[in-house]
Amino acid sequence: MTERTKVAQPVSGDAEVLSVRDLDVAYGEVQVVFGVSLHVAKGELVGLVGGNGSGKSTILRVLSGMLRARGGAAQYRDHNLNGVPPYRITELGVAHVPMGRQLFGQMTVEENLLMGAYLPRTRERRPQNLQRVYDFFPRLKEKRASPAAALSGGEQQMVAIGRALMSEPEVLLMDEPSLGLAPLVVKEVMRVIGSLRQLGLTVLLVEQNVRQVLKVTDRAYVLELGSLVREGPSADLLDDPEIRRAYLGV
């Protein structure tokens, strides 16, 4: 896409749980995100897509506290997120499924899941939550005693998602869950992400795999070189000729 489309301001409503306004982010002197605004409403599954280096993971890193934005605001309900350390953000109820999964490789699957319930506010309901994750991912129950590093990439992604669910989040941030997975496994992971809404979760999904994201999400934002170029219902974006040409190769 060559033409920068002016993006409409998000409609703000009472149900908005996650919001980003006029966000500017830089690594040292190099600015990579330019005035991005987006929001996610309660129960929504929203995609944030774009090519390599478009700044989508950078925005997610601000939301989970790994990076401090230079300007603008990032909010979860009434809580400011910019500059807050990651462990505090998890405490608030925003869980992050990080890029590359970041599992504890030498720990068993079950120990990885238990780490997800490290927060005191969730410890009491830990057995129920563990059961819930095992019901959701029966394969993890079979592998509960295996070291996480011994699992396949797809299974590891399930552990990462399950671990995040253990902290009883309201919002789930997912950073490139399909990265490094075989195409068939990507489909499986996307199916799982689509079914997360059954659990009443609000999801912001960052992905390079545009086609898969548009199929599974309600709405999506398209980033290019650090600026938003499109936003709208995912079904519309799937039919958008410019999106199809630039990202879907048709």
Partner: protein, 294 residues
Amino acid sequence: MDPNTLALFQTLAQGLLTGGIYALIGTGLSLIFGVMRVINFAHGDFLAVGMFIALFLFQRFHLDPYLSLLIAAPLGFGLGYLVQRFLLARLGDRLESSSLLATLGLGLILSNGLLLGFGAQPQSINVAYATQTFKLGGVQISLPLLVAGLGTLLAIGLLNLFLYRTELGRAVRATAQNPLGAELQGVNTTWVQAVVFGLGVAFAVVAGVLLLPLLYAFPTVGENYTLKAFVVTVLGGLGNLPGAIVGGLILGIIESLGAYYLSNNYRDAYGLVVFLAVLLLRPEGLFGRTVKRV
């Protein structure tokens, strides 16, 4: 038993018990490295601090060194906690590259502080059991050395219970394996690192107290032990706790055998020879990655 076999057993027992103390020192160093990727070059100086705490409590209050552990261990923990909080944590992203100078400098401050406070002359404590021995199947064992060995077993056993049976212990292992992953689960990893540094220093301090009935205390006594701890840790594989225990025992036995069968003058050198051999032949440590990490 014929005298030669007896001498061998005597040497092995001596080496095993000394090695136990090395294991205790090495475990502290390895724990810190495993979680923070920092080699604490002040480790031996913390051991010296432990010796002088016990010495001070003995001279001033006639407190038995083994009882003074109850004071020295928490003091060591607090000292390590503060060092991480106010010195190492300030290094931020440069921690791995700058920690060598920071801990080396800290070691100099500690040893010179001891020099200022206690003077340079070697000092020892006069307790009845310092030279006491007992016989076990013909092998003579020094009582304080046996206590030191048992103390090591207890300390390492407690560390294992902590790491594998508690919430915080699990968080420590998680932080060692993946700091970012741990932080995202709600673990305050900066705080966990301070706890770990405190534990590592407490181990060094405990080793110092256990050594006091056996050795003279002087301000630079720790230098040699920093080196030994480093050797032990590299033998076992950096960050590998079971490896550090085995590494400590091996070092103790090698020193003991060398001192008896070759020459006592080169006691400290034998370990270094093995150290070089390991670095040349198995740079990942004797056990490499085959043994479970922290």
